[in-house]
């Protein structure tokens, strides 16, 4: 294993993590809801009357974040390597999997681990391992 020192950003990542934690903290304490993006978005797909507005408000904030960020900081170009076909497959898997597994990186990975939930710990270990295995196959076996 070699460390990628060029892209390593411990302080920005730690600070960003604190913001993510603050958002989750505000959501559970003020509104009594767990900040899980796949769960919030799944409620938009399977719309139920009276349950849409809060989800849309959250998603609107998320969508506007890059615009607000760009008012203060020059945005960095993200590295998106996947082509259209891979994006479709990956999107389907992420959508189906997070729906079936009742959560994703935010709901299980951040909120669940913060709650010390054994379910969330299991989910996080499984999706991290699956992600590592997938990157290994794509980058080192197939490439």
């Amino acid at each position: 294993m070699t460390l990628d020192w060029t892209h390593f950003t411990p302080w920005a990542s730690l600070a960003g993590g604190v913001l993510i934690g603050l958002a989750a903290a505000l959501f559970i304490l003020l509104n009594g809801r767990v900040l899980g993006v796949s769960g919030i978005v799944s409620g938009l797909v399977r719309a139920q009357r009276g349950d849409l507005a809060w989800r849309l408000a959250f998603v609107a904030g998320l969508l506007l974040a890059p615009t607000v960020w760009a008012l203060f900081v020059q945005p960095r170009e993200p590295r998106i390597e996947a082509g259209p076909a891979l994006l479709v497959v990956a999107g389907l898997l992420v959508g189906w999997g997070s729906g079936y597994g009742s959560g994703c990186t935010s709901g299980h990975g951040v909120c669940g681990l913060s709650r010390l939930s054994p379910r969330a710990l299991a989910a996080t270990l499984v999706f991290m391992s699956a992600g590592v295995a997938t990157v290994f196959v794509v980058r080192h076996l197939l490439a």
Partner: protein, 144 residues
């Protein structure tokens, strides 16, 4: 008031994703690439988020209702079942393939990247498909 809080939480969460590097698929894949040149940054994201989250959820557990009123909706399920493991496995494969998960892809969508448009549509189809399968008996993937 509630709608404003939800908007603000979404915004704060999105800014955290951008600052942390989570909204860059290259950084996510760099973190998952343990055997290549590894970028450990995302471990710091988790550490920062959980350090704050621990206190928040400990406080939330002691409350019967949220500060703005309404129920405290904390999950009650505890057991690790087949559903959780299979779902997380499938999710992890998709995450590793493109480097996007639901929060970051919505941030990239807001920034106007076409790749995020494609991924988001596919993700919504995947979520809808899962909901449809769960509500259709006889497919072997119903609740339980």
């Amino acid at each position: 008031m509630h709608r404003f809080v939800e908007f603000l939480v979404g915004l704060l969460f999105g800014l955290g994703l951008i600052l942390s590097g989570m909204s860059d698929p290259g950084k996510v894949i760099g973190f998952l690439d343990l055997t290549g040149t590894w970028d450990p940054s995302l471990a710091f994201v988790m550490a920062g988020a959980i350090a704050v989250g621990l206190f928040a959820f400990a406080a939330a557990r002691r409350r019967a209702s949220a500060l703005l009123g309404g129920a405290m909706r904390l999950p009650t399920q505890r057991e690790v079942d087949r559903r959780l493991v299979i779902g997380s496995l499938v999710f992890g494969v998709g995450w590793g393939l493109a480097g996007f998960c639901p929060g970051p892809v919505l941030v990239a969508l807001g920034a106007g990247y076409w790749q995020a448009v494609v991924f988001t549509i596919a993700m919504l189809v995947g979520l809808a498909l899962q909901g449809w399968m769960a509500s259709t008996p006889g497919l072997g993937v119903a609740e339980g």
